[in-house]
């Protein structure tokens, strides 16, 4: 093949916005969506608490950025970054929907062959009680996380345009 498939970048915010910090991924997605520095052609998905239902939105992505609340036992508000191999084998708890994200990632290679960069940016939550607001330490993490997300998206776009240079010199169509 002369050239790689067109890059498709998808950002998915995961979580429940009526369960305080659980909704972090959705809050972060909304803020990122409004950021003028985000490259064009990025698709934003409010993934809510879905799992496998998100397959149709991500299975043809080449770059997948996930925003989520993540329990790693760190102090609340800690930013966490996991990429590619680190995301393999997250505990699925074997529930299609309960731990939707882990199942989604486990299932992707079964139904799709897209080459994929997968990065998860997350935050350690303090609370998942009922409520539509984030707790203070997690709210404070929103800005820094969005900065990281913008840097990631810009980085991917630059890589993709660098990769397109040799393709331009090939026969092309």
């Amino acid at each position: 093949m002369d050239f790689a498939p067109a890059a498709k970048t998808v950002v998915v915010g995961i979580g429940n916005p009526i369960r305080t910090d659980d909704g972090f991924g959705v809050h972060a997605l909304r803020r990122l969506q409004r950021d003028p520095r985000v490259p064009p052609d990025v698709t934003f998905i409010d993934g809510g608490t879905y799992g496998l239902e998100l397959l149709c939105y991500v299975s043809d992505s080449t770059h997948l950025l996930l925003l989520d609340a993540l329990d790693v036992g760190e102090p609340p508000g800690t930013l966490i970054r996991m990429a590619n191999g680190q995301l393999r084998g997250l505990p699925c708890a074997a529930s299609v929907h309960q731990v939707g994200l882990a199942d989604l990632l486990a299932t992707l290679p079964l139904v799709s062959t897209a080459p994929r960069q997968t990065v998860l940016l997350g935050v350690q939550p303090l609370s998942t009680d009922w409520g539509t607001e984030l707790t203070a330490p997690v709210e404070a993490a929103l800005g820094p996380l969005v900065e990281e997300a913008v840097a990631q998206l810009v980085g991917w776009t630059e890589e993709a345009s660098a990769a397109r240079v040799p393709a331009a010199g090939s026969r092309g169509l």
């Binding site: 009526i18 608490t49 879905y50 993540l70 760190e74 800690t78 997250l90 074997a94 994200l101 079964l110």
Partner: protein, 569 residues
Amino acid sequence: MARMVVDPITRIEGHLRVEAQVDGGKITDAWSSGTMFRGIELIVQGRDPREAWLWTQRICAVCTMVHALASVRAVENALEIEIPNNARIVRNLISASQYIHDHIVHFYHLHALDWVDITGALKADPAKTSQLAQSISEWPVSSTAYFRGVQDRVKALVESRQLSLFTSGYWGHPAYHLPPEADLLAVAHYLQALEFQREFIRIHAVLGGKNPHLQSYLVGGMTTAIDPNWPDAPLNPERLDFLVQVAGTAKKFVDQVLIPDVLAVAGFYRGWFSLGMGPGNYLSYGAFPQGRIQDTARYFLPRGIILNNDLSKVHPVDPNKVSEYVTHSWYEYTEGNDVSLAPAKGETNPKYTGPKPPYQFLNVEEKYSWLKAPRYDNYVMEVGPLSRMLVAYAAGQPEVKAMVDGALAKLKAPPAALFSTLGRVAARALETQLLANHIVGWIEELRDNMGHGDLQMHNGEKWEPDSWPRSAQGYGLFEAPRGSLGHWVEIEDTLIKNYQIVVPSTWNAGPRDGKGQRGPYETALLETPIADPERPLEVLRTIHSFDPCLACAVHVTDARGRTYARREI
């Protein structure tokens, strides 16, 4: 005598704990404890009732649409708002496609591995699997090479220890009875069902404006514009063609994959047609209105109640007879512990009195669940596809009668076999087929209306709050794929004063009531044989047959023990 604890029940949505007394290799008593605390009313109190659905649809991961619909119905009921015919059809199409999607995901991805042994699939002969597949179905993806390919992929996954999807199985358990070829066939269809659901769910992107959280609901109708002359309209002739095409794919998958698979698997587990019987009372609020919502006699799936497994009589449903006990639930009622309250007068005052974790057993003599115990006229009710199909069957719905009788004949089983674990599985599959048979017709109804210039999708007569009474009460009843769902709303001075929800899994998974009657799960587990108390596969079969869904509201991903980069703020 031994007490067995299954906590949490895996492959379900949320947290459910079952304690069972095992005596002589059989369950002699059981207690079901849900760890959900219902607090949605705390979120919507004081809000504009027209936006309640936006909040309630976030209660549950996979049930978003059902809570949106029950919520707009409750508000429409309170304010006496009629919706246009097109909105009725679009709502029916969204719900029907959700049934089809959820039922298929339930069978293949939440339930099949209770019957199918992955390790068996690895031992199967692909040529024999191909023969088996071709003997039960016309489905074209059935060659020896195809099944060998699936087997190789699963083998590679097992060897690379990437089998996280399949990790919770009790592989090699003596209660697995499928021949290896059937195991491999089912695993192959597990993968095909993933691809099917990925494509089928696109139907909601058309009808809902935005997915995964549909944005097209509106008190008074829908926002899904229908216009034959507008190329970007959500519904125009091209979009309707697309819906018809997707619906056709669904019908083919259901007819040629789901139904033959369910019948084949059931044939190897006939003993489960006489295990897992619930309370014997079945409730359906009815679903898919074919006219005005008040015209319940014209619902596509009828409203009704069956008592004591007696299919000769369908009793009417009076929504005022629904009430909830908290005798064994971690709540307090101001009127005391033994009364039951109607949802419209419901109270949610949590008071946890259970043991401090970590603990071994719950104190089941006292309160032991976060679920309330809903009852209908003090009867324990089972809800879900089995209830709907039994009510339709007993009401003489001709198509349902033909389908159910046909399936029973193929399985050489009497109607009483339906009152069982496998009866639930079969009813769910048949309901999927019933709806797959009808969605194209409903899409064509929309096309007809469009052809006649009927483009109305919303009734805005009572949109403005100054047209509302000072106080109003209403309910929205609906059959979610999992069973009977009710939202109750009280509006005062244009804002929500009180809001209560009774969800399907509360009916099925709730604890004992003020009269000591067991909940449906608790009854259904009685007499279940347990081959190995350390690996209670048999408990999972019956619990999963109900399609449980509890606190699917919290989704923090567990990544403890993983390598990651961290930064403190």
